[in-house]
């Protein structure tokens, strides 16, 4: 199947292309065949605009503006011609967005465009996020290696998981795959079901090459056993620190070697890792660590009990990617506002919202590691830490909802638990037991 360049085609420059500016010249170096291409200003601009989010028409419009040219039609023709030349040199590829599975399956892998596919689920978190599109290059079984993220078809749907191993048995080839976020590998996948390899991710209109996203993991996988032995020998000479009794141990900016050097980690509520160093965490001697979260680079991290407000929306350039460890209060958000404020929420703990509709909206954008989304009124009393619930609560607050996070001890003078305090706190029984002994 041959593909000709059209106005509505999306384009991406090859990730093997290195652009160097030298004085007034721009040189493109293609690392695949060690060749150089001298680019004029127009070709350079075109390659820069081939970012996975622009069509031929978009590029022509941008160039017409840049070079003050009124004849958009002729600019578009020139761009098409230039793109065709760049495509022949495999410097630029076409992207087809959300293609029908039949088209993806039937296209050959030689001259094939790249396919931008939307995938559901969190099985590849944090490398792939639920709102990402993956850029898939068609390939055959022999082109796959351990650690690649491969797309295969499963009853008309596409699945992207990482290759653990490849094998050939009785003339049939198989791959074993697993989602990074999954605990178990998938059943063996026959080579005939393989669609291609994920080479990049389109996230919020920006292109992220897989080799960059995956750099940390690849590095760990490729490490030879001899170099590991050298590292281990070096470590024997080093002092090995231990971390005990900390709320948050943030290791996101710490190198893999330093993490390997940690002697022990004990009684930690939360450990934060980056995608680059997360894969060495299993080597750490850790005891009584309640939570370990790998945080993608673009994500904000809130630990504790933040109460977020809808007013945030008017100041956000785009919805938030957020990791919350603890309790987050979103009770002021109306249905519709949650979607505008949050692109993806990773929750380890509880999120409180004001209604069932808001709960459903939040759950649609949330990856719950542990915990749940609860419904609570916006007007509530909140105590964190150690608190005592006495009969005075009902006198002042009547039936107002109490959310107590931490130890809530009923006063010996409390004869019955007010309804508002009973909703989220398991103290009813101890009060009844106390009353029975009186």
């Amino acid at each position: 199947m041959k593909y000709s360049t059209e106005s509505f085609d999306y384009l991406v420059a090859s990730d093997k292309l290195q652009i160097e500016e030298s004085g007034t010249d721009v040189i493109a170096f293609d690392s695949r065949n060690q060749s150089f291409h001298l680019l004029n200003a127009t070709a350079h601009s075109i390659i820069q605009l081939c970012n996975g989010s622009n069509t031929v028409k978009d590029i022509a419009t941008a160039l017409a503006r840049q070079f003050h040219c009124a004849d958009l039609k002729s600019v578009e023709e020139d761009v098409k011609e230039a793109i065709d030349t760049l495509r022949k040199g495999e410097l630029v590829s076409l992207i087809i967005h959300d293609a029908e599975p039949e088209l993806v399956s039937s296209s050959g892998h030689g001259d094939s465009p790249l396919f931008a596919l939307s995938l559901a689920g969190n099985s590849m978190f944090p490398i792939l996020l639920p709102t990402d599109k993956v850029l898939v290059k068609k390939c055959i079984f022999d082109e796959l290696g351990t650690g690649d993220v491969v797309v295969w078809s499963d009853s008309g749907k596409f699945v992207a998981h990482r290759v653990l191993s490849t094998s050939t048995d009785a003339g049939k080839s198989f791959i074993i795959t697993k989602g990074d976020f999954c605990t178990e590998p998938d059943p063996p996948v026959e080579a005939s079901r393989i669609v291609g390899k994920v080479i990049a991710v389109l996230r919020a209109n920006a292109l992220h090459w897989m080799r960059t996203l995956d750099a940390g993991q690849k590095d760990v996988l490729d490490k030879s056993s001899s170099s590991r032995a050298e590292v281990a020998a070096d470590q024997e000479d080093s002092r090995r620190p231990s971390y005990t009794r900390m709320q948050v141990l943030d290791l996101r900016d710490i190198s893999r070697e330093s993490i390997r050097n940690i002697g022990s980690v004990e009684q930690i509520s939360l450990v934060l890792l980056s995608p680059q160093n997360a894969h060495v965490w299993p080597e750490v001697n850790a005891k009584d660590v309640k939570s370990v979260v790998t945080v993608p680079e673009t994500y904000k991290v809130y630990t504790g009990q933040p109460e977020l407000l809808p007013e945030i929306i008017e100041f956000l350039p785009s919805p938030l990617d957020l990791v919350v460890c603890g309790q987050v209060f979103l009770t002021a958000f109306q249905p519709g506002q949650i979607k505008a404020a949050f692109k993806h929420l990773v929750l380890k703990g509880q999120a409180y919202v004001g209604s069932q509709a808001a709960k459903e909206e939040l759950e649609a954008v949330t990856t719950i590691v542990t915990g749940s989304v609860c419904i609570a009124p916006h007007e509530h009393i909140r105590w964190m830490g150690a608190s005592i619930l006495g009969p005075e609560y009902a006198v002042v607050n009547q039936e107002k909802t109490l959310i107590a996070i931490g130890d809530l001890t009923p006063s010996p003078r409390l004869e019955s638990v007010p309804a508002g305090a009973a909703q989220f706190n398991s103290i009813e029984l101890s009060v009844k037991e106390h009353a029975a002994t009186q």
């Binding site: 407000l309 830490g385 609560y393 006063s411």
Partner: protein, 218 residues
């Protein structure tokens, strides 16, 4: 000569060289260790116990320690496009969003954010990359009690009709009653340890909309 450092709320090692960090034998019972990117790796090799958190301040970041009234006056003291890290608490009774966005490029916050002006805190959240602590609403222009406070009838008389934000240990006089508290305090936000008789603590908590910390029955 190697040293043992212990029993500090904050240990600021930003100006200490990698070689000198290597001379530290042990760090014990420190709430927060502050480091720079160049010496953070070296500190990872220092044995420690009861170090509750460490904070790496990048070269382009500014660290503020303590309580901040986060308003236009404070923002005016900052350079444009500041990357601000706060170790402590901030009070937000309102600021000009345009000024905030000009001055603050990004923020990290380790402590509590107490706010009364929702639009301002909305702006702040949009630039807040890391929050370790609470984000708590307080009534506008609340009276601040910062540090250890002894709450008795005389103090209550002096703040009658006001909303209070208390940060630090609060000891309750045993003579204070529920009626004293409800008749004097408009609202209460309390962060820190609470000490007193069981009845007094129960009465005090009944008037707290938001509170955080341990409590000790004396």
């Amino acid at each position: 000569m190697r040293s043992v450092i212990r029993d500090l709320p904050i240990l600021d090692l930003r100006s200490i060289s990698t070689a000198d960090i290597g001379k530290i034998e042990r760090v014990e019972n420190v709430r927060t260790v502050v480091l720079n990117p160049a010496n953070a790796e070296a500190f990872m090799r220092v044995p420690r116990t009861d170090v509750r958190s460490h904070l790496i301040i990048k070269d382009d970041e500014i660290l503020h320690i303590g309580q901040i009234e986060f308003n236009d006056k404070f923002l005016e003291t900052l350079a444009d496009n500041t990357r601000l890290v706060v170790l402590g608490h901030i009070f937000v009774d309102g600021f000009t969003p345009e000024l905030f966005f000009r001055k603050i490029q990004a923020m990290r916050m380790y402590g509590q954010v107490l706010y009364s002006h929702t639009k301002s805190v909305g702006a702040l959240l949009s630039r807040l990359e890391r929050l370790q602590g609470q984000l708590l609403q307080m009534p506008p222009n609340s009276i601040r009690w910062v540090g250890a406070t002894y709450l008795d009838k005389t103090l209550l008389d002096s703040v009658s009709g006001y909303s209070i934000v208390s940060i630090g240990m609060l000891t309750l006089d045993p003579k204070v009653t529920l009626n004293d508290l409800t008749s004097h305090l408009k609202s209460m936000v309390q962060i820190g340890e609470l000490k007193g008789k069981e009845e007094t603590i129960s009465a005090f908590l009944a008037v707290c909309n938001r509170r955080l910390g341990p409590c000790t029955i004396a």
